[in-house]
């Protein structure tokens, strides 16, 4: 392939300039000798022959330049020369160059950090399926007096959510979620710890397109007040469960090992690990002081929906 040969030659020219240059000189000298010999054979004297040959030869330096231009690293070489020259110039005035470098570094650093923040906060898409189609639906307060506050997005009552979900035409699906909190007890008499949790409807994860690392998400039959099914985040899983536990879901041994949680009586019957870590927008919701379920519908604080 031609381009392959060309590439090979260019790379060879990168490393074997001197050898190529001497070979070029050899070639030209060979030609010159033959020209001189011919001139002598035509009857000239030796030095005359040589002069005549050199005259027809043209400018050897130009010749070499032209041949070397074929080697095609000229741009790179001139770039290197320019860089060396600029380095010398900067070294001559160190104060100025130092100032310039500091200013440029500050500007670049500021711009980079700003853009990093902007990107991670604003520009990076949510780790869900089709995040541009995701909307949050809220309730408003009725009266104008209550809507004075700049943030008048209220929690959604469960009945409203069910009605909306059943009757909507504009949304592909609706799911609800809220903040929660549990006391998680260890299996070896460890002190219980409070873990922040969230609760959602059974279709929350399928709607968001989030797959658990293993196990399954909720099913519809578990979406009732006395359900005792949880999904664990990876950090909780790594921390609270024994590391030697083989990674499988639904083991009965796990059910007994986790002592009943104090705030609510539930058993872990399935283990699922959602891998995604999404920071839900912070909106405090009041927690139930009854025995709710993981998928219980207390006052939901917001909805996540897909437009159709």
């Amino acid at each position: 392939m031609r381009w392959l040969d060309q590439l090979r030659m260019r790379i060879a020219m990168l490393f074997h300039r001197r050898r190529a240059a001497t070979r070029l000189d050899d070639e030209l000298a060979f030609h010159l000798e033959h020209q001189v010999a011919e001139n002598i054979a035509a009857g000239m004297k030796p030095d005359e022959a040589r002069y005549a040959a050199l005259r027809t030869f043209g400018n050897p330096a130009l010749l070499r330049e032209q041949s070397r231009a074929m080697w095609n690293w000229g741009n790179l070489e001139s770039l290197l020369r320019d860089l060396r020259y600029s380095a010398r110039t900067l070294r001559r005035t160190p104060a100025f160059s130092l100032m310039a470098i500091v200013v440029i570094a500050l500007c670049i650093g500021a711009a980079t950090s700003l853009f990093t923040i902007v990107r991670s906060v604003l520009l990076k898409p949510l780790p869900f399926r089709d995040p541009s189609q995701l909307v949050m639906v809220y309730e408003h307060f009725r009266g104008d007096w209550a809507n004075q506050d700049s943030f008048n997005y209220n929690v959604v009552s469960p009945a409203d959510y069910y009605d909306w979900r059943a009757q909507t035409h504009g949304f592909e699906d609706m799911a609800a979620w809220r903040w929660w909190q549990f006391n998680l007890t260890g299996e070896r008499d460890e002190l219980p710890e409070v873990v922040t949790a969230a609760a959602g409807t059974w279709n929350l994860f399928p709607l968001l397109g989030v797959q658990p690392a293993f196990g399954r998400t909720f099913v519809e039959s578990e979406d009732r007040p006395d359900s005792n099914v949880v999904m664990l985040t990876w950090s909780v899983f790594e921390r609270a469960l024994p590391a030697t536990l083989p990674l499988s879901a639904g083991r009965s041994i796990l059910t007994e090992s986790l002592a009943p949680l104090s705030e609510s009586c539930r058993k872990i019957s399935h283990i699922r690990m959602p891998r995604c870590r999404y920071g839900f927008p912070i909106r405090p919701s009041h927690r139930p002081n009854r025995c709710g379920t993981t998928t219980g519908m207390g006052a939901t604080s917001s909805l996540a929906c897909f437009p159709a």
């Binding site: 070639e27 060979f30 030609h31 095609n72």
Partner: protein, 109 residues
């Protein structure tokens, strides 16, 4: 031929490729052969020959090899590649077309 114009450069490539068709030869022999075959009309100078040879080599139409010449010295022998042969045919065809067109115009006067 001092500084090659576009037309001359193209035809020099054609001449070199045609000259290398029978067998491989070094730069001096190419110049001599062109001079002979054209009846001493075309005399290729080194200044245009060697850049042309290197250009052709870079484009992959000829390939070079260092070997011993007839005088015993080492010389760079050029030979035609397969793509060079194809290029030769193409350039011959275009040259024929071009010269026929110029002939038509010039001989009508």
């Amino acid at each position: 031929m001092g500084k090659p114009s576009d037309l001359v450069q193209g035809t020099l490539d054609l001449l070199i490729l045609k000259t290398l068709l029978p067998d491989a030869m070094h730069g001096w022999a190419i110049a001599k052969r062109i001079q002979q075959l054209s009846g001493e009309v075309l005399q290729v100078q080194q200044g245009s020959l060697y850049p042309a040879l290197h250009r052709l080599e870079q484009q992959g139409w000829i390939k070079a090899k260092w070997a011993e010449s007839e005088t015993g010295r080492q010389a760079k022998f050029y030979s035609l590649t397969a793509s060079g042969r194809a290029q030769l045919e193409k350039e011959t065809a275009s040259w024929n077309r071009l010269s026929a067109a110029i002939n038509m115009i010039v001989s009508e006067a």
